[in-house]
């Protein structure tokens, strides 16, 4: 087999795999919809204005009257299904936003409350990532082994963050070693990375990343493993 036909075969296999994953997700969604219909749930049923609707309200910020568009988000009300638009949003940021919201909703709710949250464009855009997000936590060995065979919907994550560790002169062999690499759902990877980057009273108003600057391998690894546990990737 020459290299061009082997590339074409690989592409075909990947396409088939993507279709199977999307089909699995749609089947799961349909099953949830059937369950909710059976339970008398109607997605369009009128609701009391939720007292927690402010949960995701964007608001004005900045000191010079800078205006930010007002937009309702799912916020902290995972019991309400996100009202995903039928039309595919134009930006990747918006598409990712809906993917994350649906993933969180599916992960946080019981099947009897789910329904009507998936549309074709979202399955195509975020199906793998959504499916990955609702997978249960794994053992460290499972996550490390999975990193040897990356799958769509997942990212390779370094338990000890690689860039700061490299900048601090820690061993590259350890940073890039198989012991430091795990396969994590992409959306959970984003959540963990964002936590590392945001300023926090817990660490003297520094971000965890800045707090760990100058610290040794074991201290960084302990925080990295705990983050995996608390963000739902590593089995407690």
């Amino acid at each position: 087999m020459d290299s061009s036909s082997s590339t074409a075969t690989l592409r075909k296999l990947r396409s088939m795999r993507d279709h199977i994953a999307a089909y699995t997700l749609m089947t799961h969604a349909r099953r949830l919809s059937l369950l909710t219909a059976k339970a008398g749930y109607r997605p369009n049923q009128a609701r009391l204005p939720p007292g927690n609707r402010d949960g995701g309200q964007w608001t004005d910020e900045g000191s010079a009257g800078e205006q930010i568009p007002r937009l309702w988000l799912a916020g902290d009300q995972p019991d309400l299904p996100p009202e995903v638009p039928d039309q595919e949003p134009p930006t990747i940021r918006e598409r990712n936003g809906w993917g994350v919201r649906v993933a969180k909703y599916l992960a946080a709710t019981s099947p009897t409350l789910a329904g009507g949250v998936l549309v074709e464009w979202l399955v195509r855009h975020g199906g793998h990532r959504i499916r990955a997000y609702i997978e249960p936590p794994r053992t460290l060995q499972e996550l490390q082994k999975a990193a040897l065979f990356p799958r769509p919907g997942f990212d390779i994550h370094h338990i000890v963050e690689q860039t700061p560790a490299r900048q601090d002169g820690l061993s590259w062999t350890k940073i890039d070693g198989s012991d430091n690499k795990v396969l994590v759902p992409t959306y959970r990877h984003w959540e963990i990375t964002a936590w590392y980057q945001t300023r926090n009273k817990d660490f003297g108003d520094l971000s965890p990343r800045d707090h760990l600057r100058g610290q040794g391998w074991e201290a960084r690894r302990a925080v990295g493993l705990l983050a995996l546990k608390l963000f739902g990737v590593l089995k407690p």
């Binding site: 939720p50 007292g51 927690n52 609707r53 402010d54 949960g55 995701g56 309200q57 964007w58 608001t59 004005d60 910020e61 900045g62 000191s63 010079a64 009257g65 930010i68 988000l73 799912a74 916020g75 902290d76 995972p78 940021r93 936003g97 994350v100 919201r101 969180k104 992960a107 946080a108 959970r188 984003w190 959540e191 963990i192 990375t193 964002a194 936590w195 980057q197 945001t198 300023r199 926090n200 009273k201 817990d202 660490f203 003297g204 108003d205 971000s207 965890p208 707090h211 705990l226 983050a227 546990k229 608390l230 963000f231 739902g232």
Partner: protein, 122 residues
């Protein structure tokens, strides 16, 4: 033009604290870390002003422990931890128990940092 914290009434400071928390929650949900960090700096100024007034007026934030927005609850609990440790800890624990990310993970990390003596939350 937003008022400077030192020129705000107590009610305005609390309203600003809530507004910042809600905006931070939205930023956290969308991984907008730069926005979150800018808001963190604003929140710190509000807290400094509350702490400076009278007998540490941060205690008014205890009333936000049952606010509907999870980020506001988390901010209120962390900001009053030194004044009402058992109550604040219960709020943080309840958020950690929800497993609803990213707040559950963040709250769990707060409890760990406190237990390890890394975070003081004074």
């Amino acid at each position: 033009m937003t008022k400077r914290p030192e020129n705000m009434s107590l009610e305005e400071l609390v309203a600003s604290f809530v507004e910042i928390g809600i905006a931070q929650g939205a930023a956290a949900e969308e991984f907008r870390t730069a926005t979150f960090n800018r808001l963190f700096a604003r929140e710190s100024k509000i807290l400094d002003e509350l702490k400076r007034r009278g007998n540490d007026e941060r205690r008014v934030l205890i009333s936000l422990y049952d606010h509907p927005n999870v980020q506001v609850r988390l901010n209120a609990a962390k900001s009053t931890y030194a004044l009402n440790t058992p109550g604040a800890r219960a709020v943080i624990q309840s958020i950690a128990d929800t497993k609803f990310q990213p707040w559950a993970g963040s709250a769990g990390m707060t409890l760990w940092a406190l237990d390890e003596g890394i975070g003081k939350l004074d």
